[in-house]
Amino acid sequence: MKKYLTVLLLLLVAGFMAKGQTTDPLVSNCVMNAGTDAKYLKDFRVQLGKAAAAGEPRYKAQMSLWKNTKYRFSMCNSEDSNGKLILSIKDNSNKIVLSSFDQKTGKIYPYVDFVCNRSGIYQLHYDFTGGNQGSGVGVVSMVK
């Protein structure tokens, strides 16, 4: 009887621990695919409907980035997304420092490595291509 109770207790503890982990497969897959040299820092889950009009990116967040550090910004999309997740980053003087979307060629990069040399607070702007509806995740990692 004591043995069964111990097993039951262990199962309950394991259940609670599993609940504490991220349950979103899109996030965990994106983190896993960031690369073996990348250490996970943060993720941004982006879910947007179709934009009424094309314009400024709709999902905005702030993050402090430190100099002498290489960051990797990975973007992943769920299968039912109409648009692809794109990222642009601005510094505190509102100057664009990077974009995962090349406007000249139309190329969308699934991840961008950023060698930061200026410590500060940066604005991360996410949206889906063409202001389309979409669901995705942006993962920030530090590259060793």
């Binding site: 990077l98 995962s100 961008v112 490595d113 950023f114 060698v115 040399n117 410590s119």
Partner: protein
């Protein structure tokens, strides 16, 4: 390197103070926290962070985009200023640890 990291915390400190400020008069605990942050800010007052300008350089390596920032932040902090910051943070940390 570590000295630079400590100096750079001046950037985030102002944000922390701004976030805490609406609650400073709420209760004694927040009031003490705000005073502690202010003490740290005073020690950082003469630490200077300067910037050299430059445009980011982007290169494509094996299909991946790599952006190298040419703009740089430079921390100017004397050993005395660093010692002052270490001293005040040590005293605040000790108070927080003892209280908890």
């Amino acid at each position: 390197m570590l000295k630079d990291r400590i100096g750079e915390q001046k950037i985030i400190l102002n944000d922390l103070i701004m976030l805490a400020s609406p609650y400073c008069s709420h209760d004694t605990e927040f009031n003490a926290l705000c005073r502690s942050l202010q003490e740290i800010k005073d020690k950082y007052r003469d630490v200077r962070i300067t910037y050299t300008l430059g445009d980011p350089v982007s290169v494509e390596i094996n299909g991946a985009l790599v952006i190298q920032q040419t703009e740089k932040s430079i921390v100017e902090m004397s050993d005395e200023q660093l010692e002052g910051i270490i001293e005040v943070t040590r005293s605040i940390r000790d108070k927080l640890v003892i209280n908890n």
